[in-house]
């Protein structure tokens, strides 16, 4: 056929490439090899080479076909169509899907599952519960024959006492490990629902190992069992750098089984010191309180005494003042009294004098009156001359001849006619 075409007429380059692609690109083939030169362009176009001991072939894919980024050195199986890329004339496989083989497969599966669980919220920090500071009952899920178990128990005994550690022995690797572990969590949840003597915390622990060894701790069912545990879970796996999916789901992630015990059991010595401090604080507080009350009472008493003393002192002062002033007042009163008495006596005397004087005057006037009285005159021999009408004759010229007058003498009257 080719010879026929060759003899018939020459092809353009484009036609030639199209022809070749038609010949080879009619079905998908699976090719296995090692990845090298892996690169992504513009976030969309993936380029890498696939090689074995002797040969190499270029591969091209869109990112969605690859799914997970590949690493150089990974062993993969690709499905794709071979062909020439017209623009460069280079032969390559256009890859439609990739499967990672061996260790890489586990790694990829792990990463994919991790992404899935994270998006479902199994790793969410907000839902992680705290474990109580002082636990009474711990449930250990792991292999009773492992170093993880002995390490955990040893650290627990060193740090603390009085705790019940229930041990649920499980296989931690191998086919049935995942279901064993899930069974242990179901058992624990059942205890929780029964209500009696349920653990305060669960420890899921094992030693370190390869990615294959740790498979059960990366199992989706186990991760979901840890997430669905009604009791908080502490996960402590092998060595610090080992990282499993249950580490992310756990309420508390410990770096090792020993560290898990450290996170769960308090340090006896530290707590003893705290208790010591409490004791000291209580004593100190009580002493201070008593001292304060005593001081308060003493000062209150003092203030009270002072106060009462003041009152008494003031009262005394008043008394003294009164006692001093009183006699003076009395003296003054007495003096005034005396003054008044004297004054009154004085007045009396004056009045008496005045009365005496008046009496004397009256007496004198009386005497004078008597002397001057007509009777006194008569007695002395004088006479009173009166007209008939009684009017006194005081002058000789007042009478006329023949007028009848009377002359009153000491011892009687004489009727007279004037000559």
């Amino acid at each position: 056929m080719y010879k026929k075409v060759n003899r018939m007429q020459p092809l353009s380059v484009t036609q030639f490439i199209q022809l070749i692609n038609n010949l080879v690109g009619f079905e998908q083939l699976a090719v296995e090899g090692e990845v090298s030169g892996f690169s992504v362009s513009q976030g969309k176009f993936v380029f890498f080479s696939l090689k074995d001991e002797a040969s190499v072939i270029e591969c091209f894919a869109m990112t969605y076909a690859i799914g997970v980024p590949l690493k150089d050195g990974m062993k993969v199986r690709v499905w794709g169509t071979p062909g020439l890329y017209a623009k460069s004339g280079r032969f390559r496989i256009t890859v439609s899907s990739v499967e990672i083989l061996g260790e890489g497969a586990l790694q990829a599966a792990y990463l994919a599952l991790k992404k899935k669980l994270e998006s479902e919220g199994l790793f969410a920090v907000a839902r992680k519960r705290t474990i109580p500071r002082f636990v009474s009952h711990v449930l250990f899920i792991g292999s009773q024959t492992s170093a993880a178990y002995t390490d955990f128990i040893r650290v627990a005994h060193n740090r603390w006492g009085g705790v019940l550690i229930s041990v649920y022995d499980v296989r931690v690797q191998g086919e049935s490990a995942a279901m064993d572990i899930v069974g242990a969590f179901n058992f624990a949840n059942a205890l929780m629902q029964q209500g009696d003597s349920c653990p305060d915390v669960i420890v899921l622990s094992r030693g370190g190992g390869s990615l294959e060894d740790l498979q059960s701790f990366n199992d989706e069912r186990v991760a979901r069992a840890v997430f669905g545990s009604l009791i908080p879970v502490v996960v402590g796996v092998g060595h610090e750098r080992d990282e499993t999916l249950v580490d992310f789901v756990a309420d508390v992630r410990a770096s090792t089984p020993s560290n898990a015990a450290e996170r769960i059991f308090p340090d006896r010595i530290a707590v003893l010191q705290e208790l010591q401090s409490f004791g000291e604080y209580l004593s100190f507080s009580m002493d201070s309180l008593v001292h304060k009350k005593k001081t308060f009472l003493t000062s209150s008493l003092f203030v009270f005494e002072q106060g009462v003393g003041e009152v008494i002192k003031n009262a005394r002062m008043h008394m003294n003042t009164i006692m001093t002033v009183l006699p003076r007042l009395q003296a003054q009163i007495q003096f005034k009294k005396t003054q008044i008495v004297q004054m009154v006596a004085g007045h009396e005397q004056r009045l008496r004098n005045i009365v005496l004087q008046l009496q004397e005057k009256i007496s004198f006037l009386n005497k004078t009156m008597t002397l001057l009285s007509p009777h006194a005159l008569l007695a002395r021999g004088y006479s009173i001359v009166k007209r008939k009408n009684g009017i006194l004759v005081t002058s000789a010229r007042d009478v006329v001849r023949g007028e009848e007058i009377s002359i009153t003498m000491r011892d009687g009257e004489i009727d007279v006619t004037v000559q």
Binding site: P132, R133, F134, V135, S136, H137, L139, Q144, I153, A156, H157, W160, G161, G162, V163, L164, I165, S166, V167, Y168, D169, F187, D196, S197, R268, V271, L272, L275, F278, G279, Y281, L282, S283, S285, M286, L289, V290, K293
Partner: protein, 66 residues
């Protein structure tokens, strides 16, 4: 197991009593009662730490027995 007060519960009670003394003006009688309770708790908890061991129970064994 839960009938007696646990270490944690007693410790919390001790913290409460401690807070009580942070207040300024306290009644002496009440304070004395709380002081005695507190000191009693301290002694109890100290004793617990000095003497008590952890106890290990094998679940599978228990389940098998049942």
């Amino acid at each position: 197991m839960a009938k007696k007060e646990t270490f944690g519960e007693k410790y919390e009670r001790l913290e409460q009593l401690s807070h009580y003394f942070e207040k300024g003006d306290l009644d002496i009688d009440e304070a004395l009662t709380k002081f005695e309770e507190g000191v009693g708790l301290v002694k109890e908890l100290q004793k617990h730490l000095d003497s008590v061991e952890n106890k290990i129970a094998d679940i599978k064994q228990k389940l098998q027995d049942v």
